[in-house]
Symmetry: C2
Subunit: 407 residues, 2 copies
Amino acid sequence: MPRATPARVAQVVTQEWGTELIQSWNKNGWFAMPQQVGDKIARLIGAAPGEVVATDSTSVNLFKVLSAAMNIAAADAPNGPMTRKRIVSERSNFPTDLYIAEALCKQHGMELVLVEPEEIAASLTADVAVLMLTHVNYRTGAMHHMAAVTAAAHAEGILTVWDLAHSAGAVPVDLKKARADFAVGCGYKYLNGGPGAPAFVWVNPQHADRPDLPFMQPLAGWWGHVAPFEFTPDYRPAPGIRRYQCGTQPIISLAALECGVDTLLAAEPLGGMAALRSKSLALTDLFIALVEERCAGHGLGLATPREHAQRGSQVCLTKDQGAYAIVQALIARGVIGDYRAGDPSILRQAQDGPSSGQTGKKDILRFGFTPLYIGFVDVWNAVEQLKQVLESGEWQRPEFNRKHAVT
Amino acid sequence: MPRATPARVAQVVTQEWGTELIQSWNKNGWFAMPQQVGDKIARLIGAAPGEVVATDSTSVNLFKVLSAAMNIAAADAPNGPMTRKRIVSERSNFPTDLYIAEALCKQHGMELVLVEPEEIAASLTADVAVLMLTHVNYRTGAMHHMAAVTAAAHAEGILTVWDLAHSAGAVPVDLKKARADFAVGCGYKYLNGGPGAPAFVWVNPQHADRPDLPFMQPLAGWWGHVAPFEFTPDYRPAPGIRRYQCGTQPIISLAALECGVDTLLAAEPLGGMAALRSKSLALTDLFIALVEERCAGHGLGLATPREHAQRGSQVCLTKDQGAYAIVQALIARGVIGDYRAGDPSILRQAQDGPSSGQTGKKDILRFGFTPLYIGFVDVWNAVEQLKQVLESGEWQRPEFNRKHAVT
């Protein structure tokens, strides 16, 4: 939690709400907050002011941009009915992305095609409307080359949707330079916006205004109207990214998100995301080296690519047995990682492929490294605790093997 | 703002987030919070535990339930293609409701039909799929008889969607007794959840589980999955209302909403919503009587019905000129109401109809009476201030005639 957050949240609650009441929608800028926080997030992802809004959840924003991409693809189809009947994504993409895409495919009579990372290039054919990828994989920490993948998609006339959940604030992102089409991301990971913080959405300005498609984005709520306080019964979308707003936003949580984004922007005079990236790679390099040196012989594998260009800001270890309990034992020692279960349904048919495919079935221990405030001594201490958990066998105790509702 | 809110919000931020970090998803019940707060809201609207979730915005929830209603109507259409091609709503319904319905109609090849209140009964024909109404009109304060209107819709095989934005916590609502089909509502009006508090959604249990319609609710995010932490690539909806969740929710704002709902539930031993309704009617009766007695001769009209059964917990006055400035002058005196512009586009063709139709074109001064904490002396004082504003002519000063972004 950023140090500034408790006081700022208290100010919104006690002063702006408790004393100034609904006047704060104007006086304290509540109504403009999604755009104001969006403009700040834009600086972290290679977007311009007025191109991002902080609003809703990642899943809801994904529904908006996937709908828009599908509607644009249909409207721009040459000569009659649309022949692009597929959305391509990664089988190990974060599930909510796949669920939202599946729902939209069912509705539009399209097909969701799930492939392994190394199969993406071959899957970009003329019958594909949209390529939807998460920039940094939640399960492996592997990162796509956004510009190269986008160029390959565009060469086939395919639009791209990028989920930045594990990259905004974690790695340098340059959406405009990569010529991406749409992006969404969450506020509660590397942006430190607090539990369930509002998410964000970006649309390349070339797609933002389509007078021929007033309902391109079907969550056409009043905050996306060109003049919401005229209260007219007919919908006329606002220009630019504002049409990607829908309903009234949770102001207290948005204020907390702004504090998190501000901490990242405070690093701009010191080199910003480029400097943070250097530190991030040094942290994850050190973690990998120390785990391999000090925890050898315990059956740990590495799911995250060693190549810098393919790595996000997390390191995922694999283990055949006990991953869940090891994470619980580490949490009890103050080292808070995530456990992600291996999923037999994403197991590849061929078990002899490259490592990125094999990790699907194995349980994962995930360690995130927020370069803004995680230090090298934290890395050393985390590995030391992991070593002690493994060597002592304490993870086999019953209390570490009890499952929670949320793991 | 409820007295309990600042301390509870500070606890979530400083203790649960700042100290206990992601462990709070289990330990402090963050993950279950939409259901927990939903169960509490259920007690205010005639629903049972497990039938309501507090989540997303009213507009997003409306998209979910309208989609579900349209998908159910299509699936249940006898013998081939659906003949029900219309959604009926009120022309003066809150605009976001109309925008969302318009977007869905465009997508489904259906027609949104807007009528005046007195035309609803005649509009319920065999080609209508869904009747979507706001229980208490935001512009006039007029309240529909939910059970009677629902019965009339059902008699023609039409599903009902109710927006409770101006009724939850303001008037007694009994969704189950009225045999309503779907309902949504907001958390930031009479529920006192704070600025932009999360909204809620209810679905009649008879419609909640449809194994034949896994994407009945197309915002199929991971929080609506039967087992979100299994991270499987295929969507399987959770039973009951849980499938109406989509993405991760803003926990800080949800905690504030719970404080607001708790203040209403604290009135249960004293008679609950029935007792609050008696006080609400006494407050609005007094306000109407005092305005007519003390502010006569200033051209004020009454948009809100005098009949108790047709009145929500607000009183809307009309004025041909100066409504905006009068509201601003009142706010400067500490009486905080709303201005709502008359909209020429909702002007009826015939100007000689009953009063409920004529108010469409006139500017509105809206006064909300939260029976939980607004007292009779507040009503007296508000009318006294209104009288002074009108008699002094101070509302004509330039500073009260400057328009804000949000009015």
